[in-house]
C-alpha cells in the first residue's frame, strides 16, 4: 500500500480549509450557543459582582466589600425572612408531596371511580397562578372578610373566625396545594408505566397488597418522589406572589418579598438585593444540582416499552373514600378559589358577604375594556403586554429550544455538554433571582424599562422547559431519520425543515403552549423588571391588589384564569395527556 495520497487531483486544487468549517450547521449552532451562553451567564456574573458592591453613606457611590452579606445576617428582618423562607418551603414540600403522591397513586394504581376524569382537574393548579390562588384564599379565609369565616359565624353563631390564612400557615397551605401537581407529574409516569411483573413477583412471595405497595411500589418511585419534592422546595423558596399576598402584609416576610423591596421599594438597594438573590440562588441551585446529578439518574427505568397495563388495586369500599379525597383536593385547589373569585369580582366592595342586590359587572369593565375612559391602565396594559410577551417569548424560546436540543442530542463533544449544563442553570435559580441579575446587567442599557428586558428575562428563565419538551421527542426519534435525509442529498437546513421539525411537531407545540401559559401568569420576573407602561397581567393583578380593592383584583384574576384554562384545554386536545406526564 502506498502512503502518498491516492487521489491525483487533490494536489491540483486544494480546497479551502475554512470552507469545510463554515456550514449551515456550524453557523446556526454557534449562534445559538453564544446567545444561550450570554443570556444565562451574563446576569449571573453581574449578580455576583453587584453583591460585593456596597452603597456608601451618601447613597450614590459604591465600593467593594462584604458589607451586604454582613448586613444580611445582622438585619433582624432579613434574618427572619430567611427562616420563614425555609419554614414555608419545608411545609409546602411536605404538604405537596403527601397530596401529590397519594393522588398519583389513587389515579394510576387503584380502581378509584372516575379517576380518568378527575386527573385533568388534579392538574389544573399547575397552570393557574399561585398568586391568584393566594388572593382567592384570602377572600375565602381572611379573619374578617373571608367568605368561609363569615358563613361559619352566621351558621353557628360564632363570635370569632375559625380560619385564618393571613400568616405563615396560610402561605404554606396555598403554596402546598398549588404545587401538588409538580410532585404528581414526577410520580405518576413511573407509577403508570411500572413493569407489573415487579409487583407480581412480590405477590408470589406471599406479600399482601398493602405490603407490596409499601415495600415494592413506593420504593421504586422514591427517586421520582424526591425529585418532585426538591422541585417543590425550590419553587416555593422562589415563590413571590403567595407570601406577598398572605405573609408580608402581616409581618411574615420571606427572602423573595425582601428582594422585591430592595429592587423597587422606597429604600431600593440593588446591591443588597443582589446579595440576597445570591443567597437564595445558592440554596436553590444546590438543591437543583442534587436533583439533577444525584437523584434523577437513579430514577429506576421501569419502562420497558412493552406497553403493558399495570395491575389496578381493588380498594373495595374504600374506593369511595379515595374518590372523596380526590374530589376534596379539587374543591380546595380549584373549585373553591375560582368560585370565590367570581363571587368577589361581581361585588362593588367585598366585606365577606354575598349581597345579591349589589351585583355588578363594573369591575370587569374597569379592568378589561381598554377603550373605556374608566379603565385602569395597569390592568388593560398588562393584558396586552402579556399577550405580546407570551406569544413572542414562546415563539423565540422554541426556536432556540429546537436548535439547542439539536446541538445537545445530535452533535457530540464539549459544546453539547456545555449547552446541556447551561440549560439546567436557569432552572436552579428562582425567577426573582434571575430577574435581579437581568436588572443589574441591563439597567444602563436602552432595553431597560421596555418590554425587551421582560422578554429577555422570560426566555432566559423558561426556555429550558421548552427545550425539554423538544428533547424528549428528539430522543425518541432516531437520529437515522435525519441522517438518511443527508444521504439522500438534502443539506442540513433542508433536513431540519423537511424532516426534523415535522417529526418534532408535537413536542414543539407542547413546549410552545406550556411557555405561553407560564408567560401569561408570570409574576416574579415581571415584578422586578416592569415599569409604568410595561405592566404584565400578573403585575396588573398585583397593582389592583395593592392599590385598588379586592373585587377589581378578583375580576382581573378571573380573566387571567379563564385564559389559562382555555390554553390548558387546547393543550390537552392537541398534545394529548401523555405530553404532560411523559
Amino acid at each position: 500500500m502506498t502512503t502518498e495520497t491516492a487521489f491525483g487531483q487533490l494536489d491540483a486544487a486544494p480546497p479551502s480549509r475554512w470552507r469545510s468549517l463554515v456550514t449551515q450547521e456550524t453557523i446556526a449552532t454557534t449562534v445559538a450557543s453564544l446567545v444561550v451562553g450570554a443570556a444565562v451567564i451574563l446576569p449571573l456574573i453581574a449578580l455576583v459582582f453587584n453583591s460585593f458592591l456596597v452603597l456608601d453613606s451618601s447613597g450614590f457611590g459604591t465600593e467593594w466589600g462584604l458589607k451586604n452579606y454582613r448586613v444580611m445576617f445582622q438585619d433582624r428582618i432579613i434574618r427572619k425572612a430567611f427562616v420563614n423562607t425555609l419554614l414555608i418551603s419545608t411545609g409546602a414540600t411536605l404538604l405537596a408531596t403527601f397530596l401529590g403522591v397519594s393522588l398519583a397513586w389513587i389515579n394510576a394504581r387503584t380502581n378509584c371511580p372516575g379517576r380518568e376524569r378527575l386527573e385533568p382537574f388534579n392538574l389544573i393548579p399547575f397552570f393557574l397562578s399561585p398568586f391568584v390562588g393566594a388572593i382567592a384564599w384570602h377572600n375565602l379565609a381572611a379573619p374578617k372578610t373571608g367568605l368561609l369565616n363569615v358563613w361559619a359565624q352566621d351558621l353557628f353563631g360564632l363570635e370569632r373566625h375559625i380560619l385564618n390564612v393571613d400568616n405563615i400557615y396560610g402561605v404554606i397551605w396555598v403554596t402546598g396545594i398549588f404545587f401538588t401537581p409538580l410532585v404528581y407529574l414526577f410520580v405518576v409516569g413511573s407509577l403508570r408505566r411500572m413493569d407489573p411483573s415487579l409487583e407480581d413477583s412480590a405477590r408470589t412471595t406471599g406479600a399482601g397488597l398493602l405490603r407490596t405497595t409499601l415495600t415494592v411500589t413506593l420504593p421504586l418511585v422514591t427517586p421520582g418522589i424526591l425529585s418532585g419534592a426538591i422541585i417543590v422546595f425550590v419553587t416555593s423558596a422562589g415563590e413571590f406572589g403567595v407570601p406577598f399576598k398572605l405573609g408580608a402584609p402581616y409581618g411574615w416576610e420571606t427572602l423573595t418579598t425582601q428582594i422585591f423591596t430592595k429592587a423597587v421599594g422606597d429604600d431600593a438597594n440593588h446591591y443588597l438585593g443582589a446579595s440576597m438573590s445570591m443567597t437564595l440562588g445558592a440554596i436553590t441551585g444546590f438543591f437543583i444540582w442534587l436533583q439533577q446529578r444525584i437523584i434523577a439518574p437513579r430514577e429506576y427505568t421501569t419502562v420497558t416499552g412493552k406497553g403493558f397495563r399495570p395491575n389496578l388495586i381493588d380498594l373495595g369500599r374504600w374506593r369511595w373514600a379515595a374518590f372523596a379525597y380526590n374530589l376534596a383536593y379539587i374543591l380546595i385547589a380549584v373549585l373553591l378559589p375560582l368560585a370565590c373569585l367570581i363571587v368577589v369580582s361581581v361585588h362593588p366592595v367585598w366585606e365577606g358577604r354575598i349581597i345579591l342586590a349589589d351585583l355588578t359587572t363594573w369591575n370587569y369593565q374597569k379592568v378589561l375594556f381598554f377603550w373605556s375612559p374608566e379603565r385602569i391602565d395597569s390592568a388593560t396594559n398588562g393584558i396586552l403586554n402579556s399577550f405580546i410577551l407570551a406569544f413572542a417569548g414562546a415563539s423565540i424560546a422554541m426556536v432556540l429550544a429546537i436548535v439547542v436540543s439539536y446541538m445537545i442530542h445530535r452533535t457530540k463533544g464539549f459544546g453539547a455538554r456545555l449547552l446541556d449544563f447551561l440549560c439546567v442553570v436557569p432552572i436552579g435559580f428562582p425567577g426573582i433571582v434571575l430577574a435581579m441579575g437581568v436588572l443589574v446587567t441591563y439597567i444602563r442599557t436602552p432595553i431597560y424599562a421596555t418590554l425587551w428586558i421582560l422578554l429577555l428575562g422570560y426566555i432566559t428563565r423558561f426556555f429550558p422547559y421548552g427545550q425539554r419538551n423538544v428533547a424528549s421527542i428528539m430522543l425518541a426519534v432516531s437520529e437515522e431519520l435525519d441522517q438518511s435525509s443527508r444521504m439522500a442529498g438534502a443539506s442540513w437546513l433542508t433536513t431540519l425543515r423537511r424532516i426534523t421539525i415535522p417529526l418534532l411537531k408535537p413536542g414543539i407545540f407542547a413546549g410552545w403552549i406550556l411557555l405561553f401559559v407560564i408567560f401569561l401568569r408570570e409574576l416574579s420576573i415581571s415584578i422586578i423588571l416592569y415599569s409604568t407602561g410595561t405592566e404584565t397581567l400578573s403585575v396588573g393583578v398585583y397593582y389592583l391588589s395593592n392599590y385598588e380593592n379586592e373585587p377589581l383584583t378578583a375580576a382581573l384574576a378571573v380573566a387571567q384564569s379563564v385564559v389559562l384554562l382555555l390554553c390548558v384545554y387546547i393543550f390537552r386536545r392537541i398534545a394529548g395527556r401523555e405530553a404532560l406526564t411523559a
Partner: protein
C-alpha cells in the same frame, strides 16, 4: 492473501483512523472495492465496522486517512478535504430503516429526486421502477407507519437506489427482522444489488449473512482488519484463531509447528491432558518450524470411527453427548482435556459413553496464527 493494489479500485479507503474519546474505534484500516462488487464488513459489535461505514457516508469525520470513490476524494484528513454527506451521492440503508413516518411510501422514495430537482414525470417513472424492483408497487400510497418491518426495509432500499447513487451502504439492515424474513431478504437484497449493479458496502455481525451475500468479506476486530477474502476463502482458510472462531464453528487447540514438509504443508504438535499427537495439516500464513500455532478443524471435517486402525493418526476419545439433528448427529467427544465438536452421520448411531477414534481430514486441518 492480500491482493497487491496497483490499479486504484472504485472505492478506496486508506489508513482510516477514528477516535471516540481515547478509544481508537477504527485503527488505521485500508481496503478497496471494485466497481459493482459487494463487500461486507463483518465483526462483533464494537469492532469499528459501523464507524468505518459512517466515515464513508460522511456522517462521521475520521481523525486520519482518506476515502474516495471513482477517483473523487470524499475525505482526506491530510488534504483537508471533507465532502458533506449530501454531496457524496451515496445511497444508505439504516439499521432502523429510517423511513420518515410523516410521509407516504412514494414521498419517501421520491425525496432524493425532489432534492435533486428532477422533473415530475421522470421522478414518477423512477419511483415506480424502484418500487417495482423491491416489490412494493402496491404500497405506494401507504403511510410509512402502515408498513411492516420487512416492507419498511424494502422502502428504505428503494429510497437508497432510486437516485442511482455511486455507492450503496448498508448498516446491519436485516438485524431487526425475524429469522425467516431475514433469510428471505438476504437473497432478495443480493438479487436487487446484482440487478442495479451498484457497488455496495454492507455491515453485519451475522456471519451467515456475510457468507451468503458477499463477493468479498473483511473480518474486523478492535478496529483492525483480521482477514479479507472471498466467502469461501474466509470459511475454509481462516487466517488466525480469531477468524476461525468467529466464522462458523471450529475446534481450536493450541499447539506448535513440528515440521514444515512442503509448500503450505506440515505437521502440528498438539497435547491435551497427557495426550500428545502429531497431525498433518495445511499451514497458514506466516508459520514456520517451531512457531506456536493453533490447530483449527471444523466439526464436519472430523470423523468419529469405531475402528482404531487406518491411514493417518487417530485420536482416541469418549463420546460425552449426542444431539440428534435429523440428517446428522452433533457430538461432543472428549480427547484428553479437550472436547471435540464432531458432526457424525446419523446412521452411525453413536451413544454417550462409547469409545471412538477421531480422524481429522488433513486437507481441512489448518494450522493458523494464534
Amino acid at each position: 492473501m492480500d491482493r497487491t493494489d496497483s490499479a486504484p479500485r472504485y472505492l478506496e479507503v486508506n489508513g482510516l483512523v477514528k477516535y471516540f474519546g481515547n478509544d481508537r474505534a477504527v485503527d488505521g484500516i485500508s481496503f478497496g472495492v471494485d466497481k459493482g462488487k459487494f463487500l461486507t464488513l463483518l465483526g462483533p459489535s464494537g469492532c469499528g465496522k459501523t464507524t468505518t461505514l459512517m466515515c464513508i457516508a460522511g456522517l462521521h469525520k475520521p481523525d486520519a486517512g482518506e476515502i474516495g470513490v471513482g477517483g473523487t476524494p470524499f475525505t482526506s484528513v491530510a488534504g483537508r478535504v471533507f465532502l458533506p454527506p449530501e454531496r457524496r451521492d451515496i445511497g444508505m440503508v439504516f439499521q432502523s430503516y429510517a423511513i420518515w413516518p410523516h410521509m407516504t411510501v412514494t414521498q419517501n422514495v421520491a425525496y432524493p429526486l425532489e432534492i435533486r430537482k428532477m422533473d415530475k414525470a421522470e421522478t414518477g417513472e423512477r419511483v415506480a421502477e424502484a418500487l417495482r424492483l423491491v416489490g412494493l408497487s402496491d404500497m405506494a400510497g401507504k403511510l410509512a407507519t402502515q408498513l411492516s418491518g420487512g416492507q419498511q426495509q424494502r422502502a428504505a432500499l428503494a429510497r437508497a437506489i432510486v437516485f442511482r447513487p455511486r455507492l450503496l451502504l448498508f448498516d446491519e439492515p436485516l438485524s431487526n427482522l425475524d429469522l425467516k424474513l431475514r433469510e428471505q431478504m438476504r437473497v432478495e437484497l443480493k438479487r436487487i444489488q446484482h440487478e442495479v449493479g451498484i457497488t455496495s458496502v454492507y455491515v453485519t455481525h451475522d456471519q451467515a449473512e456475510a457468507l451468503v451475500m458477499s463477493d468479498e468479506i473483511i473480518v474486523m476486530s478492535k478496529g483492525r482488519i483480521q482477514q479479507r477474502g472471498g466467502p469461501h476463502d474466509i470459511y475454509a482458510r481462516p487466517a488466525n484463531r480469531y477468524v476461525s472462531n468467529f466464522i462458523g464453528v471450529a475446534n481450536l487447540i493450541e499447539g506448535r509447528i513440528a515440521r514444515v514438509s512442503g509448500p503450505g504443508r506440515g505437521e502440528i504438535e498438539v497435547s491435551q491432558g497427557g495426550q500428545r499427537v502429531l497431525l498433518p495439516c495445511v499451514l497458514g500464513e506466516g508459520l514456520s518450524d517451531g512457531s506456536p500455532a493453533v490447530l483449527s478443524v471444523r466439526p464436519e471435517n472430523v470423523e468419529a470411527l469405531r475402528d482404531p486402525d487406518g491411514g493417518g493418526p487417530r485420536l482416541e476419545g469418549e463420546v460425552l453427548q449426542t444431539i440428534f439433528l435429523g440428517n446428522c448427529l452433533d457430538c461432543r467427544v472428549r480427547w484428553g482435556d479437550f472436547e471435540f465438536k464432531v458432526l457424525a452421520p446419523s446412521r452411525d448411531r453413536l451413544r454417550p459413553g462409547e469409545r471412538v477414534y477421531l480422524r481429522l481430514d488433513p486437507e481441512h486441518t489448518l494450522a493458523v496464527q494464534p
